[in-house]
Amino acid sequence: MAKVNVNGLNDLAKRLNSKIVIEINKIFSNKNIIKIIAEIIVTDIKNNYERIQGPSKSTIFQRIYLEKYNNTDKAYRRSKIKAVFTGELLEDLKNNIKGSPTEKKFILEHSDKLHSKYLGKSGLIGNNISYKNLSKILVNDLGINYFALTDKAKREINNIIKNEIRKLLTQLK
């Protein structure tokens, strides 16, 4: 689990009237806003995350084999360790991001749904594994800690939240 915190919002809320405070809380349960923020986060991870240590020779051979039978994500690069192959794992993250109005946070966590098996020459290969467990293996065992955000993505999220608050604050004038 990782979290995107909106800092300073509680301090602002203390100075506002009750209607606006209630509306500010609704930002964190607004499905459209969560969807937009989830898109920013996942696009940022896809485009910018890369493990410093590249793939081993055996990983490259394995990738060449799997590429023949599976549709790879646009952001996938054979010679780089990114957080995508088919893109299914990050799609799950995108669909599972939640907002917390009490904590003024967005929570990034994978679901327990099962990742599809990859296709091989003679059908499906590998074992069933949930997105959450796959994520733990990637981060904890393989050092692929893709739960990271660039400053650009943070700024974009900041702008979205602030635009929503700005709309509410116009009611004060």
Binding site: A2, R15, S18, I22, D112, K113, S130, N140, A148, N158
Partner: protein, 179 residues
């Protein structure tokens, strides 16, 4: 503080929260509305993380159901269509908020809470009690938000330059993966 017990039957599922006791003053209407929204949100979030009213993991799904849902057996979040966790309603009293499950979802919710799942007797080992709260400590973050709305007349005292300053200080932080 221990909270008031829930009503759990196949015709009614509800819990009353005495905000006057919890806040130590009489709540206004806005506070009651905010309490309801945040408490329901917290309950739904807890459930979606697979935790029951005691903050313990729900019993696993059986294999057939997990396969049908396309999840692992331990991935229990009580969300299939999403209707049950979207069926809360609010019945406010003078100083209270009553969180209820809407009538058309009461049977399903009762089955989950008691473990009866359509059978006449409850089965404790299969019960997934997602509804309500036991102790006021669990609601401390909700109550601190509700307390912010203590003085609705504050509107007239708003200082726009201070608001502008606080607005400009809002920024995004990131807490990385914690397992």
């Amino acid at each position: 503080m221990r909270l008031k017990r829930k009503k759990i039957s196949d015709s009614e599922i509800s819990q009353v929260f005495d905000l006057k006791k919890l806040l130590k003053y009489e709540p206004n209407d806005m506070q009651k509305e905010l309490f309801y929204n945040l408490a329901v949100d917290k309950m739904v979030q807890r459930t979606s993380f697979g935790l029951d009213v005691n903050n313990e993991k729900f019993p696993d799904y059986n294999l057939d159901y997990a396969n049908k849902k396309g999840v692992t057996e331990s991935s229990v979040d009580l969300i299939l269509t999403g209707k049950m966790l979207n069926s809360f309603e609010n019945a406010e009293g003078k100083n209270t908020v009553e969180i209820k499950i809407k009538e058309d979802q009461t049977g399903k919710a009762h089955g989950n809470i008691t473990g009866s799942y359509g059978k006449p007797r409850p089965v404790k080992s299969k019960a997934r009690d997602f509804f309500g709260f036991k102790n006021s400590d669990e609601l401390s973050d909700v109550l601190s938000q509700v307390d912010l709305l203590k003085n609705p007349e504050q509107e007239s005292k708003i200082d726009l330059s201070e608001i502008s300053d606080l607005f400009n200080r809002i920024n995004i932080g990131f807490e990385g993966f914690d397992g």
